[in-house]
C-alpha cells in the first residue's frame, strides 16, 4: 500500500501546470476604438502614379484603409505581403484595399511599394489631414469600412490573414443598402 502512495508525488505538479495552461485560454481584453460605428471620413488624394484616389468612388464596396509608412519597421513590413495577397484574392468580389502613406518621403514610399510589389492604390497623405480625420496615432493602423461607408473595425498593428479574412468576409455578407 505504502509503495503505491509515493507515485502520487508527481501528480502534485499537475494542478499547477493545469492552472498555467489555463492562462493561455485567457486573452487580454482589447480596447475598442470610439470611431467604430461612425461614417468613414472621406478623402480625395492622388496615388503615387498620379491617378485620383477618392473614397466616395468606392461606395457600395468593402474598403480596407491601411495607414502605413516606409520607416515603420517591423509591423508595416510584416503586413504588406498580407495586404497584397488579400487584395489580389478579394478584388473581384467588391473589396478595395487603399494604402495611405503618412509622413514619408516619396522615394522611400516608391521603394517600399516596389519592394513588396504592391498593386493596390497607394497615396501619400502629404497634408496630414486624412490621418487626423481618422484619429491615426501610430502606424500601422487599418480601418475596415463596410458597404454603407461605416467604420466597423480599427486594427492597430500589423494586419494578419485571419483578421483580414474574418472581417472582410463578415462585411461582404452584409447588404449594401439599409
Amino acid at each position: 500500500m505504502k509503495r503505491l502512495w509515493r507515485w502520487l508525488i508527481p501528480l502534485a505538479a499537475v494542478p499547477v501546470l493545469a492552472l498555467l495552461a489555463y492562462g493561455f485560454r485567457v486573452s487580454p481584453r482589447d480596447i475598442p476604438s470610439p470611431l467604430v460605428g461612425r461614417p468613414a471620413p472621406g478623402f480625395a488624394l492622388a496615388t503615387l502614379e498620379g491617378a485620383p484616389l477618392d473614397l466616395a468612388v468606392h461606395g457600395g464596396k468593402v474598403v480596407v484603409v491601411n495607414f502605413w509608412a516606409s520607416w515603420c519597421y517591423p509591423a508595416c513590413y510584416e503586413e504588406a505581403p498580407v495586404l497584397e495577397r488579400n487584395w489580389r484574392g478579394y478584388r473581384e468580389r467588391g473589396v478595395v484595399v487603399v494604402g495611405v502613406d503618412i509622413q514619408d518621403k516619396r522615394e522611400a514610399a516608391l521603394k517600399f511599394v516596389g519592394d513588396f510589389g504592391l498593386t493596390f492604390p497607394v497615396a501619400q497623405d502629404l497634408k496630414g489631414t486624412v490621418s487626423v480625420d481618422y484619429g491615426v496615432y501610430g502606424v500601422p493602423e487599418t480601418f475596415f469600412v463596410d458597404r454603407r461607408g461605416q467604420i466597423r473595425l480599427k486594427h492597430v498593428g500589423a494586419v494578419t490573414d485571419e483578421v483580414f479574412k474574418a472581417t472582410v468576409d463578415r462585411l461582404l455578407a452584409e447588404p449594401a443598402s439599409p
Binding site: P10, L17, L20, G23, V26, S70, W71, Y77, F116, G138
Partner: protein, 647 residues
C-alpha cells in the same frame, strides 16, 4: 548570408546537444567510456557554436546589418556603440541566446571540474545538462530564432527600447541569467543522484560551490535590478512585486533555503528528501520564471511578447517536474533520513524553521503572482492582489528570518541546554531590547521600525559574540590579534563568509525599513523662479533647456537644491526618441547615506515657463546598495577554496 549562417549553426548546435545528451545517458547506463567522451566533445562543440552565434549576432549589431530581422527590430542608425552590444540581449531572441550560451559555458566547466572524481554521478549530470541545453537550443531554432532574414532590407531599424539604454542593461540580465543557469548544475547532479540511487552526501558536496556561486549571481542580479528600477524608472521605488520580479525572487528564496539545509544534511545526514525536493523546486521555479516572462500568461510591464514560446516552456516545465518527481517517487526508500530531530531548541530546528519560512515566503509570492489566473479559473472574475498583499505577509516572515540569522549559527546542535542558551544569547537579546527602547526614546513610533532595530542589533551582537569568542581562543593559544582575526576568516571562510553575508542582509533590512517607514514625497507645479519645499530641502525651478543627441533629443529642467546652503543643481530630463510613442522621463538624484533626494520632471509648458515635478526624499535607500556590496564580499569569501578543512 549572416542570417543563414547563424541559423545553420543553431541547428547544428541543437543536433549536437541532442546527440551529446543521449550519448552521455547511454554511456552512463552501459558504462562505455567512449560514449561519455563523445558526449564531452559534443558539449564542447555546442559551446563553440553558440559562442560563434553570439559573436555573429553581435557583429551584425555592430555593423547595422538590417538584413537580420532581430537587428532591425532592436537597433537603428542612431544607437550608440555600447548599446549596440548590450542590445544583443535586449529582447526575447537575444535573451535565449544568452541563456543558452551560459548553459553551454557551465556545461564545459562541469566537464572540466567533475570529469575526474565523480565517476558515478558525472555522466548523468552531463546528460541532464545537455538535455536542458538542447531544449533552449530548440526554443532558439523554432520559437525565437535570432537569425531570421528580413526581406526587403529596411533603410533604418526600429531601435532599442530607450529604457534599456542604461548601464543596468549591461549587468542586470547577465548577473540574473548567470544565477538562473547556475542553478541548473545542482539540479543536474540531483537528477544524477536519483538516477544512480546515490542520494547520500556526494551530490551535495559536489554542488556546494556551484550553489553559492549561482545564489550570489542571483542576489547580485536582483540588487542591480532594484538599483536600475530606482534610478531609471522614475517612481522612486526599487521593488514593485511585479510578476517578473517575483519570478526571479522565488528561486532566490528556495535557493537560500537550500544553501542552509545542505549544512544539516552534511552534519546530521537528515533532510535528504527535503534537499532533493528543494533543488527540484528551485529549478522548476527558474523555468517558471522564464515561462512567465515570455508567455504573456500574466500581464506585467516587463514581459516580452507572446507566441508559441509559452507553450514550449510550459511543456518543458511539465516534462521536468513530472520526470524529477517520478524519480523521487522511485527512490523514496533511499531518501528516508537516517537522523532525527532531537529537540525544538537546536540548530537543526533553527535551520529547518529557516527553510520553512523561506518556502512559505516563496509560496506566498507564487500564490500572489498566479492569483489572477486562479480567481478567473475558479470564479470567472479577474482579480489581482497588489503590493500590500505581499508586504503584509512577507514582512513578518522576513523579520523572523532575520531573527533566525542570529539564532542559527550560535545555538547548539541536537539539543541546546539552558546554559548554552544563556551563554550565547543573553547579551544579544539584552542589547536588542535596549536598541528598541533607545529607538523609542529617540522618537521612533513605528512598531515595525522598532522590531527591525531590535532584531538587527540582536543578530549583529551574536556575530560579534561569535567572532570575539573565537578570536579570544586563538589569542589564548599565543597568536596576536590581527593574524588571529585574519586566520579565522581564511580558515573558516565558509562560516565567516556566511556571517559577512548575514551582515549584508542586516544592512539591506535596515535600508528597506527606512525607505518604507520614513520616505516622503510630493508633487507640485512651479513657475520659473518659484521654490518647492520638502523635508527641509528647497527646490528652485531655474528653467528648461533642449539638447539634441545622436538618437534622441532631451528637455532638461534645472533645479537648485538647498537646505540652508546651496547643495547643488538637479537636472531631471525628458527624452524624446523618434521611434517611441511618448517621451521617457529621466530622474536626477542626490544620493546620501541618510537620505536621497529624487526629482522627476513631469509635465512642462512649451515656452519653458512652468514645470510640474515629483519630489521625493527617500530615507536609508543607500543602505540597500551598501548591504549589497557587503553581501558580495561575504559571498566571495565563502567561495574561496578551503585551505585547511575543519570538520
Amino acid at each position: 548570408m549572416t542570417a543563414d549562417l547563424g541559423y545553420g549553426m543553431t541547428i547544428v548546435a541543437l543536433g549536437l546537444a541532442l546527440y551529446g545528451g543521449v550519448s552521455a545517458g547511454v554511456g552512463a547506463r552501459t558504462g562505455r567510456l567512449a560514449l561519455i567522451e563523445s558526449a564531452q566533445h559534443a558539449a564542447l562543440g555546442v559551446f563553440v557554436l553558440v559562442t560563434s552565434c553570439f559573436a555573429l549576432l553581435t557583429y551584425a549589431f555592430l555593423t547595422f546589418d538590417f538584413s537580420v530581422r532581430y537587428v532591425a527590430t532592436n537597433t537603428n542608425l542612431g544607437t550608440p556603440f555600447y548599446y549596440r552590444i548590450t542590445g544583443v540581449w535586449g529582447a526575447l531572441e537575444g535573451s535565449i541566446i544568452l541563456w543558452s550560451w551560459m548553459l553551454a559555458l557551465y556545461t564545459v566547466i562541469l566537464i572540466v571540474r567533475h570529469r575526474v572524481g565523480a565517476r558515478e554521478l558525472y555522466p548523468w549530470a552531463l546528460a541532464t545538462m545537455l538535455g536542458i541545453l538542447a531544449f533552449f537550443l530548440l526554443v532558439m531554432t523554432v520559437a525565437a530564432p535570432p537569425f531570421q532574414r528580413q526581406v526587403p532590407v529596411p533603410a533604418d531599424g526600429r531601435g532599442l527600447n530607450p529604457l534599456l539604454e542604461d548601464t543596468g542593461m549591461i549587468t542586470h540580465p547577465v548577473a540574473l541569467y548567470l544565477g538562473f543557469t547556475g542553478l541548473t548544475v545542482p539540479f543536474a547532479f540531483a537528477m544524477a543522484a536519483l538516477i544512480t540511487g546515490r542520494v547520500g552526501d556526494t551530490w551535495l558536496v559536489l554542488t556546494r560551490r556551484w550553489t553559492i556561486v549561482a545564489w550570489y549571481f542571483l542576489s547580485l542580479g536582483l540588487l542591480i535590478g532594484g538599483w536600475w528600477s530606482y534610478h531609471v524608472l522614475g517612481w522612486g521605488g526599487y521593488w514593485a512585486w511585479d510578476p517578473v520580479e517575483n519570478a526571479a525572487f522565488m528561486p532566490w528564496l528556495t535557493a537560500t533555503a537550500f544553501l542552509h539545509s545542505v549544512m544539516i544534511q552534511e552534519r546530521r545526514r537528515m533532510l535528504r528528501l527535503w534537499n532533493i525536493s528543494l533543488v527540484i523546486l528551485t529549478f522548476g521555479l527558474t523555468l517558471f520564471g522564464t515561462f512567465l516572462t515570455r508567455s504573456g500568461v500574466i500581464a506585467s510591464v516587463h514581459a516580452f511578447t507572446q507566441g508559441s514560446i509559452g507553450i514550449l516552456f510550459l511543456s518543458f516545465l511539465a516534462l521536468v517536474l513530472l520526470t524529477a518527481l517520478g524519480l523521487v517517487a522511485w527512490r523514496w526508500e533511499a531518501l528516508r533520513s537516517e537522523g532525527e530531530l532531537d529537540s525544538v531548541l537546536s540548530r537543526e530546528s533553527a535551520f529547518l524553521l529557516n527553510n520553512v519560512l523561506l518556502v512559505a515566503a516563496a509560496f506566498t509570492v507564487f500564490f500572489g503572482t498566479v492569483f489572477p489566473l486562479l480567481s478567473e479559473a475558479a470564479r470567472g472574475v479577474k482579480v489581482s492582489v497588489g503590493a500590500p498583499f505581499f508586504n503584509q505577509i512577507n514582512v513578518p516572515l522576513f523579520l523572523s528570518l532575520v531573527f533566525l540569522m542570529g539564532v542559527g549559527p550560535l545555538i547548539a546542535w541536537r539539543r541546546a541546554s539552558l546554559d548554552n542558551l544563556k551563554r550565547n544569547f543573553l547579551w544579544p537579546v539584552a542589547l536588542g531590547i535596549l536598541a528598541a527602547a533607545l529607538a523609542f526614546a529617540l522618537g521612533v513610533r513605528s512598531l515595525l521600525a522598532a522590531l527591525t532595530f531590535a532584531t538587527t542589533v540582536f543578530v549583529a551582537v551574536t556575530i560579534a559574540v561569535d567572532f570575539t569568542r573565537a578570536t579570544r581562543a586563538r589569542l589564548r593559544v599565543g597568536e596576536s590579534l590581527l593574524p588571529a582575526m585574519g586566520g579565522l576568516l581564511v580558515r573558516h571562510n565558509r562560516r565567516y563568509g556566511g556571517f559577512v553575508v548575514h551582515l549584508g542582509i542586516l544592512i539591506v533590512a535596515l535600508g528597506v525599513m527606512g525607505s518604507h517607514a520614513w520616505s516622503v514625497q510630493t508633487e507640485t507645479t512651479l513657475h520659473r523662479g518659484e521654490t518647492a519645499e520638502l523635508a527641509g530641502y528647497r527646490f528652485r525651478f531655474d528653467g528648461l533647456t533642449a539638447v539634441e543627441e545622436s538618437n534622441h533629443f532631451k528637455v532638461v529642467g534645472t533645479f537648485t537644491v538647498s537646505n540652508g546652503r546651496v547643495l547643488g543643481v538637479l537636472q531631471p530630463a525628458k527624452k524624446f526618441y523618434p521611434q517611441e510613442q511618448a517621451p521617457i522621463a529621466y530622474v536626477d538624484y542626490r544620493l546620501g547615506l541618510r537620505e536621497d533626494i529624487y526629482l522627476v520632471l513631469g509635465d512642462f509648458a512649451r515656452d519653458g515657463s512652468q514645470a510640474t515635478i515629483k519630489l521625493q526624499v527617500n530615507r536609508l535607500v543607500s543602505w540597500i546598495w551598501i548591504g549589497g556590496v557587503v553581501l558580495t564580499l561575504g559571498a566571495l569569501l565563502a567561495i574561496l577554496p578551503e585551505r585547511h578543512k575543519s570538520a
